[in-house]
């Protein structure tokens, strides 16, 4: 089983690439704003939170970074994670016609989604680094570890997204509730808020497996030393285990899903 999975993964790598190139091209060809779409959402989010904190509507405890930088890096990194969560279900649904009629390596769809997330993520990171330099924050050698952080985020997002895909293919409820769920999840993760100090929230924040991923990535980007490094690696190990499990699930589910989708 595992052998067949990896064989298909490798066999499908060119297809995944072609699909990703197709989707990225198509994604930007029908827009005027083009690449701006890659970061317009986190930018809007950032402005909202800067406004909220400046006007004193919400009071946010001090951050080591200037707050605008803290929010902007947080929402940008979070946007990469969200892209990764959305990709498997979105891509699989978009490929419904193809899936129902052609037999090809199903893994390619998921991998092409990862490629696309990486591409859009790279744009975000470049903009982030530009912004940081503008604010006079210079990343140090920790930047070398940044890709590790991004990839962990994408893998975590992909596992979560892939976990929801089989049921999400059958019932549209999943796809509809996903943005809501993600919004909620964002406020449980130090994206726009710094790590809280009050007891209960602090516990939730601490045990949230996304916390070390977000924080470490942000620290590497902004030249701080990550504090939750060991937890970061534990989460990564768990993510990889989860990814393998949901991958098996995805494969097993495919024939059943295809049958129900186009019967």
């Amino acid at each position: 089983m595992l052998k067949a999975m990896f064989r298909d993964l490798i066999a499908g790598r060119e297809l995944a690439w072609q699909l990703a190139v197709r989707d990225i091209r198509a994604q930007y060809r029908q827009t005027v704003l083009g690449l701006i779409w890659a970061f317009i959402l986190p930018l809007a989010n950032t402005l909202t939170w800067i406004f909220l904190s400046r006007s004193g509507i919400v009071s946010i405890s001090d951050t080591e970074l200037p707050y605008p930088v803290y929010v902007f890096t947080g929402t940008m990194i979070w946007a990469i994670f969200m892209d990764a969560v959305n990709a498997p279900l979105q891509k699989t649904l978009a490929a419904k016609q193809m899936l129902a009629k052609i037999n090809f390596q199903r893994e390619a769809i998921v991998v092409s989604g990862i490629y696309q997330t990486l591409f859009n993520g790279a744009i975000k990171i470049m903009i982030l680094i530009g912004t940081l330099l503008f604010f006079g924050i210079y990343p140090d050698w920790g930047l070398i570890c940044l890709p590790m952080g991004i990839i962990s985020l994408i893998l975590a997002g992909t596992s979560l997204g892939l976990l929801l895909t089989p049921v999400g293919m059958l019932y549209t409820d999943i796809g509809k509730s996903l943005p809501l769920l993600m919004q909620f999840l964002m406020y449980l993760t130090p994206v726009v808020f710094p790590m809280p100090t009050s007891t209960l929230t602090a516990v939730i924040y601490k045990f949230n497996p996304l916390t070390p991923l977000i924080l470490s990535t942000r620290n590497w980007l902004t030249g701080f030393t990550p504090v939750y490094l060991s937890y970061f690696f534990i989460v990564n190990a768990l993510v990889i285990a989860l990814l393998l499990v949901v991958w098996v699930l995805y494969r097993a589910a495919m024939p059943i899903l295809i049958e129900r989708l186009s019967a």
Partner: protein
């Protein structure tokens, strides 16, 4: 030399009529699949389920071509999809050896915004070609599709025929061992269809082919055997001609017949004698119909159709200086045809009544009655003289 490439044993598949319930069964199947309980153990039909394909078995060797015929909804496409590995059979086993190519969803995976050229790469990859292989055959694909300058235009501006052309050009370059074709050869214009037939003929030697078609002529030309699916069961498997005859014999004549009548005209009845021509090539025909008015000098025609529905000959009363005056109300007309020199086989008559100018129909009843010929004439053409 000719090895068996496809082996199908007692394959069945069930479908669900109700969408909500179907999705729920899907969830259940998912669960049992994950718990390692085989879905196939669940042999009984659940509520609202039915067998979409029931108990089909056959084998196919390299160089053989199987024609799959049957009414819409008989299970042909479902069977093809199981063979293609898209869905799993609920019962039975399918063995396939070699690369499977399917001319089923031509142009699946095309992105409407991208140009034809860009889509070739994507579509060919989906079908299992590597980028290197695509580079090699790219020009051939473009040439075969013969789309001219359209190849650099977005696919969303293509007509459906052009989309299929491009899709077929890509799919046909796969060099498969097993080729599944689902009603795609008949789209496209005539020159393109000829290209397709040539390609199929070329591939036939090298592959095991399964062809789904409603065009019996196509089946006769291409296939070495046929399978008839009827109400989701395999009703016949064997010789092509026999299978088509069988299919035609049980499909109800009433369902094939249709009529066009001018206002007030009612077709009542037609009788022929004999219904099977054995000795003399002679036939008496008696037609009953009703007319709203009296009309002088009408013409009666009997186009004769072969079993594929092609008109092969026509008897026309004006050729015999026969013109009929139609009375208001009930009319019975008797006609005798004397030299019906036809090859052995089954035929249909169509009845046409028109005014002398012959420009419009008063009554036109298509395939109104069937008859058989067994006078010993054989040959290529139906009409022998």
């Amino acid at each position: 030399m000719a090895e068996t490439l496809i082996k199908v044993e007692n394959v069945s598949k069930k479908f669900c009529r109700n969408l909500k319930r179907s999705l729920w069964y899907g969830m259940k199947d998912l669960g049992s699949e994950l718990l390692g309980r085989s879905v196939c153990n669940d042999k009984d039909l659940r509520r609202d389920e039915f067998w979409a394909v029931e108990n089909v078995s056959f084998e196919l060797k390299r160089g053989e071509c199987l024609g799959l015929i049957g009414r819409n909804g008989a299970g042909k496409t479902t069977l093809l999809r199981m063979l293609n590995g898209l869905i799993k059979p609920d019962r039975g086993r399918i063995e396939m050896h070699g690369r499977v190519g399917a001319l089923i969803a031509l142009g699946a995976g095309f992105n409407p915004i991208l140009t034809g050229r860009e889509n070739i790469y994507v579509n060919a990859s989906v079908l299992g070609l590597s980028t290197k292989e695509i580079d090699k055959i790219f020009d051939k694909i473009v040439e075969f599709a013969d789309l001219g300058e359209f190849i650099d235009m977005p696919v969303q501006s293509y007509s459906s025929g052009m989309t299929v052309r491009l899709g077929f050009s890509i799919a046909s370059r796969l060099n498969p061992d097993i080729l599944l074709i689902d009603e795609v050869l008949s789209v496209g214009d005539r020159p393109f269809r000829v290209k397709c037939y040539n390609l199929v003929a070329e591939l036939r030697e090298k592959t095991s082919m399964i062809l789904v078609s409603h065009n019996m002529g196509e089946i006769l030309r291409v296939c070495t055997s046929v399978m008839l699916l009827h109400q989701n069961k395999m009703l016949f498997f064997g010789d092509t001609q026999e299978g088509i005859d069988f299919y035609n014999s049980f499909s109800d004549l009433k369902e094939q017949s249709f009529s066009v009548t001018s206002e007030g005209f009612i077709f009542r009845n037609i009788q022929i004698d004999p219904q099977k021509l054995t000795g003399d090539p002679k036939m008496k025909i008696s037609v009953v119909f009703e007319s709203p008015t009296k009309i002088h000098d009408c013409i009666i025609r009997f186009p004769i159709l072969d079993e594929l529905g092609t008109v092969i000959a026509e008897w026309r009363s004006s050729n015999h200086n026969l013109f009929y005056t139609i009375q208001r109300g009930h009319n019975t007309i008797n006609v005798e045809i004397n030299n019906l020199n036809l090859r052995n086989g089954s035929y249909f008559l169509t009845f046409v009544l028109s005014p002398i100018d012959g420009l419009r129909y008063l009554i036109n009843v298509h395939q109104v009655i069937a008859f058989k010929v067994a006078m010993g004439q054989i040959g290529l053409s139906a009409c022998q003289f």
